[in-house]
Structures are given as structure tokens and as C-alpha cells.
């Protein structure tokens, strides 16, 4: 602007002296316009510390919020895509969706979570300068190209286009507005129309405003050699904080004064009664106090700009309230003082920013002119500390031209006027925005004796007093991080170990029937609490080890040994205090919570084998040197499914399964089970189940096997031979069950009504195969003799055809007698035949003769 003024011909002809001064001023001007780097629209990231289940009162609240988060972004995307289209109406399209969302939030009391998300997203999207008159030429700036790469440039342009809203500046004194993305958030609040949400949002905004307003921001000493770099950083930080504060304050003002908003200026009578009514209520945020504080601490360059934003959203009555009248008086005084005085203490651009925003505020429609001329404007003594406090911001040149234009886009109107005289503009504008996350060091209530503790604190303060401020920042930062990491570490190690142990303990007890789960949980936890006290010891160790490491890395190499060691000690002390304080208060609750979560998981998935359940657990890894080339489990399940399909039918007469192929399939199954890489529990369990089904079908001769491609009749004959291939297949299955499965195989399914039914319906009952299977199960230790006995016993109680029942009875007796005599090693088929012959001769000898294999 200075350039434009200096080059303006009319000024030159009107006052050559002024022209000369302007020219000189321009040449000496150091105002730099930094690069604009607008943030792209991003989501607020999910942070387990604030967003996981433990932050919600119930599962339901957690899951509802999960949905609401997605709904919110869906709305945002819809708005982004469509709001510029003609005829698109926010309320009409999104209104009902937003209100449905509010209803869900109310039902689960999730407003505070949502308010936080809303606020974070607001800052994320709107903290950049909006409608700041930034203009990029059509040719990309080389710096921009270097910084972003050509690929991102088009994205940047699109973003920039979104920011430039042509009618956003209405003259040199526009009414307050919500340009760009801010519009979405304003309309969202209006459509939601939720008292609860507004209240939570106001709480959240107030807190954030106070936090940002209280930040130190400037710590360097002016004579410091390294100041230049610090200054740049501080300037950036200041810009980010100031813009965020203004944004938040604008929305807070919007919410606070929303209920009182009227289109028209109310009549005098209405105004008086409203004032009388509203004078009784307390303001949501004590801006008067904050304003006074800022003047006293010489931080008004930070505070006034956001208070102005807050006040600009006032309704017509508010300025007449006693409280706000005082605020205005004070602001007016500041304004006059600054206009009149040539205060050398204050940086010029700082002052210009304050004057510009105040000037604008005083012209906002809801601020009545009469306010400035009433006689009762009491002069409030503007108390300023005579000694410049360390964090006095006003005297530090923090505002640059860039920030000035960003905060006061209406100044650009003047420039436009001037620019109309000059051909070409080409002025680049922007501001480098850096995202910062303020960290707050928590202090704990001292446990040691108060005086001792006080002395220590004083000593600490004294230690820091003559050291560069960066030392203190470093120590506090290290303490905060190490303390927090310590807690995380304890959670991941000690607590995790305890939970694992609890799991084992619970596992045994939960099987006991009618176990009282709550009581069980209490018992197990009580057992662990004692060991939980280890946390403090381990925590102390952790801080003692990590604190000094971090301090050493972060402090300058040249730091003296004594200073370094003191700094280390303080960092360790603070970190330990933070970590152990938290741990001692929370360790028991934490253990309980984790154990309970694990326990609930155990109860939900009873089928899942738990660690340490049995020796099978050991078979978790591939065999040494495994190349992971085994067929995929999905492939094997698929192939077994095909076999089952044919076996279960329906099938064509000619449809057979090649025996060699089936054997090779079982071989591949074995390989697949041995390589654990691609196997998941569900696949393995399914394979176990399917192979048991297959065994049942084999035993009952339901699988149409062929040795080679032969006519069905011949195959049938072959099967009747004792050395039929089925025995071989069953042997392979038994071995796979025993050797290769890492999960229990449900072999008892072979005794289910359905699977025994296959035997019953077979025209030629294959008792030999079944008996062979029973022996195999025992030999391979897949079932105990007694288990088989009781299975057989239970089977006999089911309603079978009488002849089948008799055979079952005989079989059962044969099996029992054989095992009781322990004649296991003899040929089971031989025995079957002998036993069956012996016992049944008087009954159905001939029938049985047919059914037992010819030897």
C-alpha cells in the first residue's frame, strides 16, 4: 500500500512533501510479505487417548459417536461439493440430517465429544486467512513450485479459489461475516438449533480461547545472538494463535448473542426492559477482565483483536448492558490513547492492527454511535506495569503487513482504490501458517512437606532465572513427554503382563459352571493389585533413564556439566512426579479396566483357544526353513467342499472321486496346516470340521471313490475288499488331525445323530470302517476310550430302526470288550468278525455275514 501511495500521482501533485515522505518510507520499509500456504481440508485425526472406548460412559455411546463422526464428515463433503451450486440450500438439504444427528447425540450425552470434534475441525479448516485479498498470478511462483511440487499446485489453486469469495468484502467497513468454510459451521449451528450442543460448544470455545490467550509466545531476549531465528518462529506462532483466537472468538460471540439477535433495532422501551432483564446475568466469558489484564501485561496486540471479533457479533441490546458498556469504554480509551500518543514502546504495525480492528468494530451496525458520546464514560485508569513484563507482546514487532491484511481485509479496499491508478497489481499476499500443538505441563500436588517443597520450587526457579528461557522450556517439555511416555510404557509392559496372567487365571475358573463373573473378576484383580505397585518402581526407573538422555540431546553441546546435571535432575524429578502421581492414583483402576475388557472378550469368543490352553498352542510357527509355498487354506477348503458336495449329493451315477487325487488333497491339506503363515483360526476350524464330516462320509461309504477310471460296478467291488483305499484315507486323516492341526478337531461330531445317520441309511453298513475309526481315534489320542463309550451310549438312546440299534449295541460291546481286554494290537477287523459272529449267531447271523467284509 505504501508503494501505491508513494507512486500515486495525485498525492504527488497535492503535496510533494508528503509524496517524498511516502517514497522514503517505502524504500526503508522492511515489511515482508510471506508466502501463503493454505492448509488443505483434512479430517481431525482419531486419538485413542481422547477418542477410544474408555472415554465414553457406555458401548452404545461409543458406537453412536463413531457413527456421528462419519455423518459429520459426510455432511461436510456434501457441502463442499454442492454449496456453490445454484439453488442449493443448506437447511433444505442438510437440516434434517443435522437434527437427526443432534437427537442421537442427546440420547447418549455425547455432546461434549462432538463439540470437541466440531471445534477442532473448525480450526483445521478456517484458521487460514480467509478473504484476505490474496491473489496468485496465473504463472506459478517458483518458490511455491519448489515448496509444493507442480503436482500440488492445481490443488493449491483450487483451494485458493475457494478462499477468494468476491463479495466477501463489502466496502471499507463491512458487517461481520462468515466467509469460506466458516459458513458451513455457522449454518450447521443454526440448523442444529440444539441448546445442548451450543452450550457444550461454548464451554469448549471458552476453554480454548483462554488457553491460547494465555500462551507465552515470546520468550527470547532481544540482545540474544540467536534471536533472529527465534523471532521468526515467534512471529509465526503469534500469527497462528491470533488467527485461531479470532476465529474461535467470532464463533463464541455468534453463539452467545444468538438468542438475542433481532433484524431490526428495537424501540427504546423494548430496549430498556431488555437491558433491565439482561443486566442480571453473568457473561459467559469475562472479556472485561481479560481486556484489563491484557492492557496491564502489555499483551493487547493479542487480546484486543479477538475481543473485537467476539463483540462484533453482538445483538442490538448487548452494547447497552452495564458490563459491555464498560468494555466499550475501555476500548474507546485504548483507541484514543493510541491515536494520540506517539508511543515508541509499541511496535508500529502492532498499533496499526489494534487501531484498524477497533475502528472497524466501532462502525459495526449493532454498535450504536451514541455509545461514544454519552457523558457517563468514566475514565478508567489504564494501568500498565511500569516494568515491562517478560512476556509483553505489544513492544515486540509481531504483526507484519501480511497479518494486518489478513485480519483487516477491508484495508484492501483502500488499496483497491489506489491500485486503480496504477497499471498491474501483481502483489502477492499470504502468510506462512504453521500448525502448532500447545502443550501444557501439568503440575501435581506436592506430597512432601510443604515448606521443603516450597524451597525446592524456589531453588528451581532460581536455577532457571539466569539461564536462557529455552532451557526451562526444554526441561518442562522433556518432563512432560517422559512422564507421559512412562505411563504408556508401564501400560504396554507391566499392565499387559498382568492382564495376560489374569487371562490364564480366569480361563480356568470361567469354565466352572455358575461362576459369578463379577466376583471372579474382583478376586483376580485383587490378586494383581499388589503387583501393580511395581509400577511406581518401574516408572521411577524409566524416568531416571530416559529423562537425562532427552535433556542431553536437546540442550546445546556447550552447556556446562553442572547446569546439565541440574537440568537433568529437575527433568527427572518432574517427569517422575507426573508419571508416578498418575500411576499411584490410577494403576488399580487401569488393571481392572484392562482385565475386564479381556474377560469380556473371553466370554464373547468362547471357541477361541486362549494362550497356554494346551500344548497345541505351541504349534504356532511354521516349521524351520518353511518356504510358505503350501497351497492357500481357501483353496483347500474349496476343494474339500467340492468333495463333500459330491459325497452328500445329489450326483450323477458316473460321478466319482479319484482316490489318488483325494489322497493328494489330504497331503496338500497337511502342508497347508503345517505352514502357519496364511492360516487364520476360522480357516483352521473350518478345515477341522470339514475333515470330520469327510471322515463320517468315508466311514459310511458315502464317498464314491474310484481307484483308476473304471466302471462304477468294478469300483464298488473293490471297495468291498478289506484293503479298500478308504482305510488308507482314514489313516491319513487321523494322522493329519493328530500331527498337523493347531486347533482341537471336533472328532466327537462323528457321533452326532446326523453323521451316524449316514451309517444307518447305508444299504451296506460298513461297521469295519467305523470300528477301525474308533480304534484309530484312541490310538492317536484324539479321544479316550471312556469318551467313545459314553458317545456310543448316548447314541443308543436315540430312536433308531430296531435292526440298526441292535448292531450298534453289538458294536458298542465289541469296542468295550476289546479295549477292556487291551487287545488293541490285534487286527481289529478280525476281532469284529469274531465277536459279531460269536454274539449274534442266534439272532441275525446271516444278515451280519453279509455286512461284514469277506476276508
Amino acid at each position: 500500500m505504501l508503494k501505491l501511495l508513494a507512486e500515486n500521482e495525485r498525492i504527488a501533485s497535492f503535496s510533494p512533501a508528503l509524496h517524498e515522505r511516502l517514497r522514503q518510507a517505502y524504500e526503508n520499509s522492511t515489511a515482508k510479505v510471506s508466502l501463503l500456504l493454505p492448509c488443505s481440508v483434512q479430517s481431525v485425526s482419531f486419538q485413542p487417548e481422547t477418542d477410544n472406548r474408555s472415554n465414553f460412559p457406555s458401548d452404545r455411546a461409543f458406537h453412536i459417536f463413531k457413527k456421528q463422526r462419519d455423518v459429520f464428515y459426510e455432511l461436510l463433503r456434501e457441502w463442499e461439493d454442492n454449496h456453490e451450486k445454484t439453488g442449493w440450500d443448506f437447511e433444505r438439504v442438510l437440516g434434517n440430517k443435522i437434527r437427526a444427528m443432534m437427537a442421537h447425540l442427546s440420547a447418549t450425552c455425547n455432546h461434549s465429544h462432538f463439540a470437541r470434534l466440531f471445534q477442532k475441525q473448525l480450526i483445521q479448516m478456517c484458521k487460514g486467512p480467509v478473504g484476505g485479498g490474496a491473489s496468485w498470478g496465473d504463472t506459478p511462483d517458483q518458490d511455491v513450485l519448489n515448496m509444493l511440487g507442480s503436482d500440488n499446485l492445481s490443488r493449491l489453486k483450487r483451494l485458493q479459489e475457494r478462499f477468494v469469495v468476491p463479495q466477501s468484502i463489502r466496502g471499507p467497513c463491512p458487517p461481520p461475516s462468515f466467509p469460506g468454510c466458516q459458513q458451513f459451521f455457522r449454518d450447521f449451528i443454526l440448523s442444529a438449533g440444539s441448546y445442548q450442543f451450543n452450550q457444550h460448544l461454548m464451554d469448549s470455545l471458552c476453554l480454548k480461547i483462554l488457553e491460547l490467550n494465555g500462551l507465552t509466545l515470546v520468550e527470547h531476549e532481544h540482545n540474544d545472538g540467536e534471536a533472529d531465528m527465534d523471532e521468526q518462529d515467534e512471529k509465526k506462532r503469534f500469527t497462528v494463535v491470533l488467527l485461531s483466537l479470532r476465529l474461535l472468538a467470532k464463533f463464541l460471540g455468534f453463539l452467545v448473542f444468538l438468542p438475542y439477535r433481532t433484524v431490526e433495532q428495537p424501540t427504546r422501551d423494548l430496549q430498556d426492559s431488555a437491558v433491565a432483564l439482561r443486566n442480571q446475568t453473568l457473561p459467559v466469558l469475562d472479556v472485561l477482565k481479560l481486556l484489563r489484564q491484557s492492557i496491564r501485561d502489555q499483551r493487547s496486540v493479542l487480546t484486543i483483536p479477538w475481543i473485537v471479533e467476539y463483540l462484533s457479533l453482538m445483538d442490538h441490546i448487548a452494547p447497552f448492558l452495564d458490563y459491555y458498556r464498560k468494555v466499550f469504554c475501555l476500548l474507546l480509551q485504548v483507541y484514543r490513547l493510541m491515536v494520540l500518543s506517539e508511543d515508541k514502546e509499541m511496535s508500529f504495525l502492532n498499533k496499526l492492527l489494534i487501531l484498524a480492528v477497533l475502528g472497524w468494530l466501532f462502525q459495526v451496525p449493532s454498535v450504536p454511535e451514541e455509545l461514544f458520546f454519552t457523558t457517563d464514560v468514566r475514565q478508567e485508569g489504564l494501568m500498565m506495569d511500569t516494568v515491562t513484563p517478560a512476556q509483553a507482546l505489544d513492544s515486540v514487532p509481531l504483526v507484519d503487513q501480511q497479518l494486518l491484511y489478513t485480519c483487516c481485509p477491508y484495508l484492501g479496499e483502500l488499496r483497491k482504490l489506489l491500485a486503480s491508478f496504477v497499471a498491474g497489481s501483481g502483489a502477492k499476499n499470504g502468510g506462512f501458517i504453521r500448525k502448532i500443538t500447545p502443550t501444557a505441563a501439568e503440575s501435581l500436588v506436592p506430597k512432601a512437606s510443604v515448606t521443603q517443597r516450597k524451597l525446592q520450587v524456589e531453588l528451581e526457579q532460581a536455577f532457571f532465572h539466569n539461564q536462557p528461557p529455552s532451557l526451562r522450556r526444554t526441561v518442562e517439555f522433556v518432563a512432560e513427554r517422559v512422564g507421559s511416555n512412562c505411563v504408556k510404557h508401564i501400560k504396554a509392559t507391566l499392565v499387559a503382563e498382568l492382564v495376560q496372567r489374569a487371562e490364564v487365571m480366569l480361563q480356568d475358573k470361567v469354565k466352572e459352571k455358575d461362576a459369578n463373573h463379577d466376583k471372579l473378576l474382583e478376586e483376580v484383580c485383587a490378586h494383581l493389585y499388589e503387583e501393580g505397585s511395581q509400577a511406581l518402581i518401574k516408572g521411577r526407573e524409566f524416568c531416571k533413564k530416559k529423562g537425562p538422555e532427552a535433556v542431553r540431546v536437546l540442550l546445546p553441546e556447550e552447556t556446562s556439566a553442572a547446569v546439565l546435571s541440574s537440568a537433568e535432575d529437575i527433568a527427572v524429578e518432574l517427569a517422575t512426579e507426573k508419571a508416578c502421581g498418575w500411576l499411584s492414583a490410577n494403576i488399580a483402576a487401569l488393571i481392572k479396566r484392562e482385565v475386564k475388557a479381556t474377560f469380556n472378550r473371553m466370554l464373547r469368543v468362547p471357541g477361541l483357544p486362549l494362550p497356554g490352553e494346551d500344548a497345541l498352542e505351541l504349534r504356532r510357527d511354521c516349521p524351520p526353513g518353511c518356504q510358505h509355498r503350501a497351497p492357500f487354506p481357501s483353496q483347500i477348503i474349496n476343494e474339500i467342499k467340492d468333495v463333500l458336495c459330491i459325497a452328500v449329493g445329489p450326483r450323477d451315477e458316473a460321478e466319482v472321486i479319484d482316490c489318488v487325487w483325494l489322497e493328494s488333497l489330504l497331503g496338500r491339506l497337511s502342508q497347508t496346516l503345517r505352514c502357519r503363515k496364511f492360516l487364520c483360526p476360522t480357516s483352521e476350524q473350518q478345515l477341522a470340521k470339514c475333515t470330520v464330516e469327510l471322515a463320517s462320509l468315508l466311514v459310511s461309504d458315502h464317498v464314491p471313490l474310484s481307484l483308476e477310471v473304471k466302471s462304477p460296478e468294478k469300483v464298488f467291488e473293490r471297495l468291498r475288499v478289506k484293503n479298500s483305499p478308504t482305510y488308507g484315507l482314514l489313516k491319513v486323516l487321523l494322522s493329519v488331525w493328530k500331527e498337523d492341526f493347531g486347533t482341537p478337531v471336533p472328532v466327537q461330531l462323528m457321533f452326532s445323530k446326523k453323521n451316524i445317520g449316514y451309517l444307518a441309511e447305508a444299504k451296506q453298513r460298513e461297521w469295519d470302517l467305523f470300528l477301525f475309526m474308533l480304534h484309530g481315534l484312541v490310538e492317536h489320542e484324539l479321544m479316550r476310550t471312556s469318551e467313545i463309550e459314553s458317545c456310543l451310549h448316548r447314541l443308543k438312546e436315540l430312536p433308531w430302526p430296531s435292526d440298526f440299534l441292535k448292531e450298534l449295541e453289538i458294536l458298542s460291546r465289541v469296542f468295550i470288550s476289546e479295549h477292556h481286554k487291551e487287545e488293541l494290537r490285534t487286527n481289529p477287523c478280525e476281532l469284529t468278525r469274531q465277536s459279531l459272529d460269536r454274539r449274534c449267531c442266534s439272532e441275525k447271523t446271516t444278515a451280519l455275514e453279509e455286512q461284514t467284509p469277506k476276508l
Partner: protein, 251 residues
């Protein structure tokens, strides 16, 4: 090639499922249920060994497993006089041995084994295929030295929505920054992709920022239209990866 065969199978399965979804309501009216149940009863009365349920399903053009479910539900309802729980029905379908009626158990098992798109066996195969591709993807990430947090770790930390992998350090794929990768062992057709966007991909974006979806069996090209916004589609592990420090681009 085997790849294109799997792709075709995946597409077939999706189309079949769409058709079943369209007719789902028709088969669940109380009249339809009653008709199917009576036909089942009459059928097994004549010949219990005949594939009554399976043939019925084929005749009315409905998935055998779903037909089995309808009849089983109706059967239990009559037997117990209460509407059986979903858990019980699912458990019986998974293990028909639990079904109190032997004939029905056989019929149901025959249906689930003969079904190519529905039922516990097919579900398990699909699950296994999905798992296998996740393992393959994990291998590739390890091979490329890209450190990640896997789904189970994320769950343990209490994340409410979890992609298969979150990259600890984001990378750029074909010039787009990605924070997460989701593996899909299916073909990305319009309807399944829309459903995934709604239930998963946007949710991931909402929490973790832009990311990559790999449809191992391919996808409809036009669906890859959210690249700018932050959802990238690929049918294989990407080769054009730029990491924070150095480029790993290879042929």
C-alpha cells in the same frame, strides 16, 4: 490366467448376490415361508433321502443356504413355539448336527455344501481369501520397509474404525499421499464400492486422512474418482512409491 478366473468368479458371485438381494423379500413373506415348509414336509415324507430342500431352492431360484435357513427357522418355530434366536439358527447352520431332526439336518447340510455363494462354508472361504491377501500385503509392506500398524494392534488401542494397515510414516503413491491401506480380495464393482465407501473408506478418511484401497481382483476404472480427495484405488501393490527420504520408484 488364474487371476482373470478369480476375477470372473468374484464378479459372478457379486451379480448372484445382487439378484438374491432383489428377490429376498419375495421369499420371506409368510405365504412363501408356509409354502416352502409344506413342500419340504411333503417332500421328505415321500423320500427323506431325496434332495428336497436343494431342489426346492433351485426351482424357485433362491440360494440353497438361505432356503435352508427359512425352513429351519420355520421348523424351530413350530417345535419350540417361539421365534428362535439368530445366534441359534446360525449355530445350527454352521453345525447341522445340532439340529434336533435328523432328516432336516441332512437336508440343511446338503444345501450349505451345495451353495456356491452363501452359507457358512462359502463365508469361511471368503474370509480365508481375505486373510490370505492381507498376509500377502503385509509381506509386501515388510519387503518395502514400510512400517505399519496392523488392524489388531489398532483395535487393542481402542480405535473405533480400523483399516487393515496404517502406515506409521505416510508415503506418496502416484503422487498422492496415503496414510492407510485396505486390502479387498474381491472385484470392485459399483454397488460394493459404494457400500465400502460408506461403511469403511470414508470413515478411515475421516479419522486418518487419505489412503489406498487395493482391489486384488480388479475394479471398474470409473470408480477411481476420489483420488484428489484422498481415496486411491489400485488392483495390485503400487510400484510408484515415494517415501519421506528417498524415492523407491521401480519399473
Amino acid at each position: 490366467s488364474s487371476q482373470s478366473q478369480s476375477t470372473l468368479l468374484s464378479i459372478f458371485s457379486q451379480e448372484y448376490q445382487k439378484q438374491i438381494k432383489r428377490t429376498h423379500a419375495k421369499h420371506h413373506t409368510s405365504e412363501a415361508v408356509e409354502t416352502y415348509y409344506q413342500r419340504y414336509l411333503n417332500g421328505v415324507m415321500k423320500n427323506a433321502a431325496a434332495p428336497v430342500l436343494l431342489e426346492l431352492a433351485n426351482e424357485v431360484d433362491f440360494a440353497p443356504s438361505l432356503m435352508a435357513r427359512i425352513v429351519l427357522e420355520r421348523f424351530l418355530q413350530e417345535k419350540e413355539q417361539v421365534i428362535p434366536s439368530k445366534t441359534l439358527i446360525n449355530s445350527m447352520l454352521r453345525d447341522p448336527s445340532q439340529i434336533p431332526d435328523g432328516v432336516l439336518a441332512n437336508q440343511v447340510y446338503q444345501c450349505t455344501v451345495n451353495d456356491c455363494c452363501y452359507g457358512p462354508l462359502v463365508d469361511c472361504i471368503k474370509h480365508a481369501i481375505g486373510h490370505e491377501h492381507e498376509v500377502l500385503l503385509r509381506e509386501m509392506l515388510l519387503e518395502k520397509n514400510l512400517s505399519f500398524i496392523a488392524e489388531d494392534q489398532l483395535r487393542a488401542k481402542g480405535y473405533d474404525k480400523t483399516p487393515d494397515f496404517i502406515l506409521e510414516v505416510p508415503v506418496a503413491v502416484e503422487g498422492h499421499i496415503i496414510h492407510w491401506i485396505e486390502s479387498k480380495a474381491s472385484f470392485g464393482d459399483e454397488s460394493s464400492h459404494q457400500a465400502y465407501l460408506q461403511d469403511q473408506f470414508w470413515s478411515y478418511w475421516n479419522r486418518f486422512g487419505p489412503g489406498l484401497v487395493i482391489y486384488w481382483y480388479g475394479f471398474i476404472e470409473e470408480l477411481d474418482c476420489h483420488r484428489e480427495r484422498g481415496i486411491l484405488l489400485k488392483d495390485c501393490f503400487p510400484t510408484d512409491i515415494v517415501t519421506l527420504r528417498h524415492s523407491m520408484a521401480q519399473c
